[in-house]
């Protein structure tokens, strides 16, 4: 019980610290601008205005959550080390694993808060454009949450082994590769593009990168496509699996770190 309590205390503290940071408001404004842009772009189409707006709106939420995960996540541990707050924290009755989990929980709470605000704005916008809000709206958001879990844990892992700028580069690469990995796999299956050895290497590389497109259900509410429960369950297990792998690696590396 105390183990979880300490994680929660660190999580709440991280949440409080990030939610008051000015950088967060920059990211929120950026995401709101993207949602706003969706109205303008939707206006260019006579027939599909609501659908185009919804598409851009969900993209705004997803990009906002990803930027938060990568940019704030990259400084989450580095800031504690630079400012030496880590020294006073680790001198308390907590383990280094609890510290990492607390940081993770705190940033996820921030992302959920920001997403809730952006989703409310998007829902209002879609209602205004007379697009019905169904359960699929929540499914699309759930996909963004699963992706955020993977991205935050992955960013934390890079954050304990490199400087923030390198962490941003590594985590952004995972984000981009994670979204392209299915397309790349598909492309490589066309034998005319890749030779056999390249294809085999490509298949293996694809397995060590989380496929973030598995969580992409953003078109479901727009085109009213049902998402089978099995897909949701599989994606949840897949996201949690990657999250555990990244957090375990982060904790393993962090436990051996010397704070000279």
């Amino acid at each position: 019980m105390n183990y979880l309590k300490s994680i929660c205390v660190i999580g709440v503290n991280t949440y409080r610290e990030v939610i008051r940071d000015r950088i967060l408001y920059g990211i929120v404004v950026f995401a709101l601008l993207l949602i706003g842009l969706s109205v303008v772009l939707g206006g260019l189409s006579f027939a599909e205005q609501a659908k185009i707006s919804a598409d851009f709106g969900f993209a705004g939420i997803q990009i906002g959550a990803s930027i938060l995960a990568i940019f704030v996540g990259s400084t989450l541990v580095a800031k504690e080390i630079d400012k030496q707050t880590i020294l006073t924290l680790l001198a308390r009755p907590i383990t280094r694993t609890q510290f990492i989990l607390g940081k993770f929980v705190g940033l996820i709470l921030v992302i959920l808060t920001v997403m809730a605000g952006l989703a409310a704005v998007l829902a209002g916008l879609l209602l205004f454009l007379q697009l019905p809000i169904t359960g699929l709206f929540a499914v699309a958001l759930y996909g963004v949450i699963l992706e955020a879990l993977v991205l935050v844990s992955c960013t934390l892992m890079f954050g304990v082994i490199s400087r923030p700028i390198m962490t941003v580069i590594f985590a952004s690469s995972i984000f981009l590769l994670g979204h392209w990995v299915s397309s790349l796999e598909g492309l490589m299956k066309m034998k005319s593009i890749a030779s056999e050895p390249t294809f085999q290497i490509g298949v293996k590389v694809a397995k060590i990168i989380p496929n973030l497109e598995r969580f992409n259900w953003r078109s479901a509410p727009i085109y009213n496509i049902d998402v089978p429960f099995q897909d949701l369950a599989y994606a949840t297990v897949y996201a949690i699996g990657w999250m555990i792998v990244f957090l375990a690696l982060t904790s393993f590396i962090f436990r051996r770190r010397d704070f000279v």
Binding site: K5, I10, E17, K83, D258, V260
Partner: protein, 306 residues
């Protein structure tokens, strides 16, 4: 005999930066003890290994070898950690938390006080470190001195039995230094053992019951402050007054001192002051550090070593 709050046995730490770099022996097998309720000053020049020792004590940096016992038990368990308070050198804390939230956070994470008791403790400590007026302000608006004081409060929030302060008076003005000195004194008077590193030797001389002195990764003194100062005593000076003029009379031993006082009283001279003639801790420290051939260095490094 009470169990020491901390006992270090043959602690060694080596740094090696870069693949081909020569190893730097930061700690060359140091051993010392800290007794409960005692203020122990931790002295040494820059790079002597003080901060490395503190980091090894708290497992922030892993020692190569040696044993560390807290409250008689091997290793830094969570139980031991809950009895320890720590303030690092040059602390910077969470910019966007208020002083009150910051202390509450450290109190909660220490898991020793119940909510109501913690709230009372936060208020008491804010008052004690002179920050009651700034408790609801974010830490980014605090001055360096205020940060140092709130840092000391976080080290004390959970009523620790042992506190480690790494240069708590660095960067403070004379008022701030005085306040920190008073807090250390008060804390020790409540039974908490205090271990603090400092470069401010006059403060250490006034405050510390015991001293641990390092030179280049080795411990060159561990013992009572008075014993060290006493070893550097070279006699006594009696100041008398006659027709408004002051005269000084130096004697070498305590027996000579008594005889001289009797003689002066017999002459009906007014005795104004009697004081031991000895070097200050600062002077002793400099001799220990730089003058290995000095008689005091010889006494301190051989005779005074435990």
């Amino acid at each position: 005999m009470s169990t020491p709050v901390l006992e270090i046995i043959d602690l060694k730490k080596t740094y090696k930066r870069g693949f081909r770099a020569k190893p730097v022996y930061a700690l060359k097998g140091v051993s010392f003890k800290i007794e409960p309720g005692v203020i122990t000053g931790f002295l040494g020049a820059n790079g002597a290994g003080k901060t490395t020792t503190i980091k090894c004590l708290l497992e922030l940096s892993l020692a190569d070898s040696g044993r560390i016992l807290y409250f008689g038990k091997e290793g830094l368990s969570n139980e031991a950690k809950s009895k320890i308070g720590f303030l690092p050198e040059r602390p910077y804390f969470y910019d966007y938390l208020t002083g009150r939230e910051f202390l509450r956070f450290y109190g909660k994470i220490s898991n020793r006080l119940k909510s109501q008791e913690l709230e009372q403790r936060v208020n008491d400590l804010l008052k004690r470190v002179g920050l009651a007026h700034a408790g609801d302000r974010q830490l980014r608006s605090y001055s360096k001195g205020m940060l140092q004081r709130v840092g000391i409060a976080q080290a004390l929030i959970h009523r620790p039995e042992f506190i480690i302060l790494d240069e708590p008076q660095t960067g403070l003005d004379p008022d701030g230094r005085f306040e920190v000195r008073e807090i250390i004194r008060e804390t020790a008077s409540e039974g908490t053992a205090v271990f603090f590193s400092s470069h401010l030797l006059p403060d250490a001389e006034q405050l510390c019951d015991d001293l641990v002195i390092y030179k280049q990764g080795e411990m060159i003194y561990n013992g009572s402050t008075q014993k060290l100062l006493g070893q550097a005593e070279s006699g006594f000076r009696i100041t008398t007054s006659e027709n408004g003029k002051l005269h000084e009379h130096d004697v070498k031993t305590a027996a000579e001192l008594q005889q001289k006082i009797d003689a002066l009283r017999a002459q009906r001279l007014e005795i104004r002051e009697v004081r031991p003639l000895r070097l200050s801790l600062e002077e002793i420290f400099i001799k220990m550090g730089f003058d290995a051939k000095s008689p005091i260095a010889a006494i301190d490094t051989e005779g005074a070593r435990r």
